[in-house]
Amino acid sequence: MAETATPAETVSRARRSPAQHLAEAFTSGSVPGTVTLTEIPYQAMVGIRVDRTSDAGARVASVVGGLPAACGEVTGNDSVNTLWLGPTEFLVVAPEEAHDSLGGSLGSDLTTALGNDAGQVVDLSANRTTFELSGSHARAVLEKTCSLDLHPRVFKPGTAVSTELAHIPVMLWKTSEDSYRIFPRASFADFLGRWLLDAMREYASPEVP
């Protein structure tokens, strides 16, 4: 009799990430030290709607380490972070293992915290994938399409905004001075991945003086 797979194994065998077919292209299109692109698949994501000043808001905040108060803010710690989507709307991003189907308890903890109060806690893990764009020229790549001011004096590490890249809606999170996490919806992952590869291509060649 074959060994029985754990639920986590069953899930990970069946899964295909939205940009999985581009993984090789991401590797070959990356220019180490200059600009690199990778997919961080399967992060656990939970959409929250709650009034952050209410009792339920306080309970939810205690699960994820605070809810952001204004546009751009990100709360949380090294692994679980919460991004501001709107005055009463937030996106929790956590490692894959935090998902309830893989032995975590993020979703159920948040659902319990909200209780019967007004609001919602929705599992959005499959809604978006995560791209990591990093390197000294990561900002130059983004500036080809993003109309926000990405200069470090304005767009600081630890800030995340909902905006458009290449005419598609994304969350753009600056995680460090040279590194960005981009959250496109799954159906846009192919388009945005190819768009970024194209935008990165010039940095593989020597700079023309």
Partner: protein, 133 residues
């Protein structure tokens, strides 16, 4: 391309927003008592103002919140951005280029790029296309 100052997110491209038509059209108090013509006028009849127009916008790509705007339909100058439910502000005739942002949005402009400059109005309008929304 218009540059619209979202009260929550700061100045963003017009493409992040959707237009919601004329502002300040109250839902009829007793819809059941309206005759067909009155109901049709409530639903479909809108001003076609040449000049300053009060209209609704929603920041669909960003915070997904609605707000009101006073915009000049000829010059595309944005004169005022104010909260839903608030009365249309009076524009001072001697300050045609003035920009104001008023109302309780329940939010301070955050850390987003450009948000700190939201209320200065320095960059509230941009060269206009011939086919604005």
């Amino acid at each position: 391309m218009l540059l619209i100052s979202c009260p929550n997110c700061g100045p963003r491209d017009e493409t992040e927003f959707h237009y919601g038509g004329q502002a300040h059209i109250a839902y009829p108090e007793n819809p059941n008592e309206l005759r067909d013509r009155e109901w049709a006028e409530y639903l479909f009849y809108r001003e076609n103002t040449k000049g300053t127009f009060a209209e609704r916008w929603v920041h669909s790509t960003g915070c997904r919140q609605w707000f009101n705007m006073l915009r000049d339909t000829v010059s595309y100058d944005i004169h005022s951005i104010y909260a839903m439910g608030q009365q249309r502000p009076d524009l001072q005739a001697d300050k045609p280029g003035e920009f104001s942002q008023t109302g309780e949005f329940g939010q301070e402009p955050g850390l987003a790029p450009g948000a700190a400059t939201t209320s200065t109005g320095a960059a509230t309008t941009a060269p206009t296309s011939s086919e604005g929304v």
